[in-house]
Subunit: 492 residues, 2 copies
């Protein structure tokens, strides 16, 4: 099984695709750029979604659902947002097919069913949501509105990669409305912290919290906060963004509220989202050449138990013991699968679960029963050892926690070792080419220099870290003065 | 508040819209035929979804996600299915907008970004899923596939109603693949039972399980099983369908498997779905002229507590007591909200929660504290009484169960009283016009008669009940012989 996976060294990009496909996370589809999320991948997404959803609700947010389509006239209303997404919009122009008169059994678009106004399939929902908020907000009493939606969105990407960049993807998008600028900024930062908490404590993915430069901002935002992660090939990946939108959408859709003094004011806004792209980040941050490695806290199955036996008698004895173990695990909140499918041999199963990233695999045979032990194999380090069945649930519980921290620490060590300071252009280019990772360097703060660096090296400014240290220096490209270092990297 | 709701007697249809809008379940949107599901409505949908999702998983199903778009050539492949949905398809023809050269700030569809092949926004996903299954199924070892997805779908309806009939709606669609016909039929029936269980035990909605006539079948199905509910105006509503698809999709997409004897066979299929339409059914089955009535098992909030006080001192004492009550409730699994918002008076809150259908409202004042009691008001019967605070959680727990059964029994009594036998055409028409509800009558089994009855009365055959009693008779319209009664009704 694992032999079919290309190694990272050989071809990192192919390694990634192999894992996604062979660990049954996703599959290509008949629709250009769209993927099928397979059951194993979707179960992972469900666990991520449920954890995030609880965090949103615990911080006062509620879910709602807004239309898939955005009429073109609304889409246009916030000009920068429209400009930012216009080039990648799927557009619905007709609402009916009819039989093709020249080709029996085939259908054609019915030219008589042309829409008066085209509908854009949402690439993001600010426009449709703010056109709705106009009807919901009159007074300060209606604020804040703290609404999230889980939805599919479409951005017509020319070069797609499973999970990382697909024409359709699943995400959550929060859209909040506030009476004051301060409150909106506080919300955008709260979500940044929430995303970082989720990435680090659930996905075991260390992230840098930062703020985007003007040119990397979300189209229509005043400020974009982000979490940036590092993949094993040294490329960065933007894992989530939270935008302070100022009053841009309120002005575009004329959303005003009367404050306590009865004065009309435009509403302040934020929006924020993470998507199925996170699954791509997860794969690339933790996995190895034998397959996926999943953090226990979001793994669809945490433990798999494989029986090893000859004959029915041994099998029956193992079944009885495993039933007892499963009960103990469930009582301890450990998700477990007993795979006694007789169509496959234990070795095949071991390889399969290794490939799929199941954090712990237990194997139990007749001799283990006699000795009251079980073989415990952890996926992250591949260590195997024989463990007493007495107190096995608490042993596994501790082990799962240990795997969770180990995966995080491993990724963090790699990440920390790959933040390198560069103080000259040559050094900057050399690090990018030879070591990769984040390069911490001075930049003169202009769009022109940022653009030029991107042209020359394909590296972009990933972010200006939150609470960045101030330090006088000179821009690595222009030599102009700079007050702080920013983080550059080549990125997904 | 409640005064703003049109009464059922005055205008049933307006009453329905008033409740949906004023109880904040949903709102109209800027997109023709599409609705916004508001937080209260969405929380209800989440509870319904979670209950169903657990039932699916408990019966061995897993979730996945397939693309929103269906290329036209795949959409055409199963001819009946294509024919059935072609007239109501949103079609994506372009993938880019560009600046309008004649109109600054406006966008137009870029004619150069025309798709080679149009994409249909999924009205249902058999085509895209079966084109995918072709790659997943080779051997009997790959079967059964028991996959469900939660998704949005689009059917371009000309006349829309919030929840009941919208251009975009949310649903789940199960798509299973089996090695034998028997197994597929068993699956379709299992889901029928599951849907009926969910409708009756969670939504408190009594349903009749049946099978559709050929003309009412899902386009592409061999058999459509359904659950049919009755609304308070005597009109029926199809609440869920489960289809045995035979080998139609396997043949259209050439999906074969090698059986144990290594012989190639086409795969057998089912598909099944329920949608946000169920929320419409819920509203119309249970609510009254004062607003929504929600079954406790799916209510977003089961109990609301309103403090009644003068001055801070009283408020503080109430707060302490309520905190204790809330802790007891949470420990008993009762979802509860303490509404001590000082912007609104208690009377306003009472009306508001009545309108929103919260099953139980508690009110507590200074004198109640002294007497160690609390006022308990149930939404379904509007009874109010003073109840001791000792053992309040278990009292409320029992009350919630009682409300759940009472709502179900009330709907069931109404439904049972509205199944009327008709043995002549005049009787049939008279019942439809004067009493409404289901009419149990003989039908000769032909499409022609069914169509004629529909033309004459707008009544359709809702279903042939499962385990229907055989009884010789004559068709109410044609006078031809018939072996069983079927259920007619006017329907949503």
């Amino acid at each position: 099984m694992s032999k079919e996976i290309t190694s990272r060294e050989q071809d990192y990009s192919q390694w990634y695709n192999d894992i996604v496909i062979k660990a049954s996370l996703a599959d290509y589809s008949a629709v250009r750029g769209c993927m099928v999320i397979k059951p194993h991948g979707f179960a992972l997404w469900e666990n991520m979604r449920d954890a995030l959803d609880k965090m949103f609700k615990d911080t006062g947010h509620v879910n709602a659902y807004f239309p898939l389509f955005v009429p073109k006239s609304l889409f246009e209303a916030e000009e920068k947002n429209a400009e930012g997404f216009a080039k990648e919009c799927a557009v619905v122009t007709h609402y009916r097919l009819k039989a093709d008169p020249d080709n029996k059994g085939k259908l054609i678009v019915d030219p008589e069913a042309k829409l008066e106004e085209e509908l854009v399939v949402r690439p993001t929902s600010e426009a449709i949501i703010w056109s709705t908020y106009k009807g919901w907000i009159q007074s300060y009493r209606d604020l804040p509105l703290l609404i999230n939606q889980w939805a599919n969105v479409v951005r017509w990407e020319m070069r797609t990669r499973l999970f990382l960049r697909t024409a359709e993807f699943l995400w959550q998008e929060g859209h909040t409305a506030h009476a004051t600028k301060d409150e909106a900024v506080t919300e955008a930062k709260l979500i940044l912290e929430l995303y970082a908490d989720f990435a680090e404590n659930w996905m075991a993915l260390p992230v840098i919290k930062g703020i985007k430069t003007a040119s990397e901002r979300f189209a229509g935002a005043e400020d974009t906060y982000c979490i940036e992660a590092l993949m094993q090939d040294g490329k960065a990946l933007q894992a989530g963004t939270s935008h302070f939108l100022g009053q841009n959408f309120a002005k575009a859709f004329d959303v005003k509220f009367s404050d306590k003094e009865n004065k009309l004011e435009y509403v302040w806004a934020t929006s924020w989202g993470v998507s199925t792209r996170l699954i791509g980040a997860l794969v690339m941050a933790h996995s190895d050449d034998d397959g996926l490695i999943l953090p226990p806290r979001i793994a669809p199955i945490q433990v798999v138990i494989v029986p090893i036996f000859k004959g029915e008698e041994q099998k029956n004895l193992i079944d009885i013991k495993v039933k007892d173990i499963v009960t103990q695990f469930k009582a301890s909140g450990i998700s477990v699968k007993y795979d006694d499918n007789e169509n496959n041999r234990p070795g095949w199963k071991f390889a399969q679960y290794e490939l799929q990233g199941i954090p712990v695999r237990l194997a139990i045979g007749a001799r283990d029963l006699e000795n009251n032990v079980i073989e415990v194999a952890r996926r992250d380090t591949k260590e195997k050892k024989s463990v007493s069945l007495d107190g096995i649930a608490s042993h596994i519980k501790t082990l799962l926690d240990d795997i969770q921290s180990n995966i995080f620490n491993r990724a963090k060590t790699y990440r920390d070792e790959h933040i390198t300071k560069a103080d000259s252009w040559d050094e900057f280019v050399k690090i990018l080419d030879e070591k990769a990772g984040f390069v911490s360097a001075h930049w003169d703060g202009t769009d022109e220099t940022e653009e030029k660096i991107k042209e020359l090296t394909k590296a972009t400014i990933r972010c200006i870290p939150i609470n960045n240290e101030l330090e006088n220096g000179v821009c690595i490209l222009s030599g102009k003065p700079s007050v702080q270092r920013v983080l550059f990297a080549r990125a997904y």
